[in-house]
């Protein structure tokens, strides 16, 4: 299993978290990729993008927001 690639999208406004997620998922198409966000809106937008592009998506609460994990 390759090393997890982490995207820190905390504090970015819509739609930048999704754009950064897309770039990361295209670059690391085998996964796993983790995206850090700090609003429920961003969490759901990012997760929806992954789910509609064939990724297994897991959401997790963190101390200052959420972590969305993408695996194949």
């Amino acid at each position: 299993m390759s090393e997890t690639f982490v995207v820190d999208a905390r504090g970015l406004s819509c739609p930048q978290p999704v754009i950064e997620t897309r770039k990361a998922l295209e670059k690391h198409s085998g996964g796993p990729v983790e995206v850090l966000v700090d609003t429920v809106t961003s969490r759901e937008n990012v997760a929806r993008y992954g789910e509609s592009h064939g990724w297994k998506v897991a959401r997790e609460d963190t101390e200052d927001g959420f972590k969305v994990s993408f695996t194949r």
């Binding site: 970015l12 406004s13 739609p15 930048q16 754009i19 700090d38 609003t39 993008y49």
Partner: protein
Amino acid sequence: MKSINQVLISRWGPAVTGAFVGAAASLLVFFGNPGNMGICVACFTRDIAGALGLHRAGVVQYLRPEIPGFILGSFLAAFLSREYQPRSGSSPIVRFFLGFFAMIGALIFLGCPWRAYARLAGGDWNAIAGIGGLAVGIGVGIIFLWNGFSLGRASKSPAWAGIVMPLAAVALLALLFLRPLFGPEGTGPVFFSKSGPGAATAPVFIALGVGLIVGWMAQKSRFCTVGALRDLIMLRDGHLFSGVAAFLVSAFVVNLLLGQFKPGFEGQPVAHMNHLWNFIGMALSGLAFTLAGGCPGRQFIMSGEGDGDASIFVLGMLVGAGFAHNFALASSGAGVTANGMTATVIGLVFCLAVGWLFRIKMD
């Protein structure tokens, strides 16, 4: 209640919200709001600017209760679901001027994206050029987004920071009900139109109720009329666009039922037939909204959630509305003004410069 919220946060949320907003927009015209202007975020913000004396265009002054309703509905929805999250710091002063110029563009066209769709659903074909301009403005914004455009990161604010906009909304409602009059001419400091669009008003409690419900629904569902086209073009994602589609259908159907559908170009309420400037005005708005991350309705909703940057944006819209009328930039039924064209070009230069210059380096 819980099951309604479940629907609103599901994939059907934007469509359900859009259907409600569209129907409400047509019904509010029936109840007394101006033609094809049952709900217009830009026009209503402009009316509030007039009511507060920020401009003295006597025909567009009214403390529209829908707007504070949006903020308070969103605040309550966010607070109860623990999504109330005060945050700010993403280039606030740039956002102020994006809001300022978004308003200038909207008042060239005479409507925000919500009203552009409401006008189309009422048969005002002049809206088509505006919606075309909106799409082009959003398209230009997308090019900047793909090239790394960002206004920078926001960070958490103290918990009380997010309460300021809901309190301001309560203050607006207090002024609406108390109607203080101690100005020099026996009027003001709050002004209410005696004729024109500002005097066309739905009953206060209906307007406020719709505002609260729309604020609630849009907070849950993230309904956004600019994000709709943006995500559709940029990500082939129709999630938010379903909201706009539902808005158009329900507004059209309710207009038809109420005899409010009057197709044509001429004689449309609060509209002009300068297609070129309808297009350019909305292109400016679309670009400004895209750079700021959402349509004007969405900005008000986010300001209710505690987003200080969105709050600055809507304050920019409010001040922009004041300037639009004081400097004779706003269009009227008679058409576009020369000053308005100049201001639109300045706004486009500003937004293009912001889109080009502001980038964030991701690690």
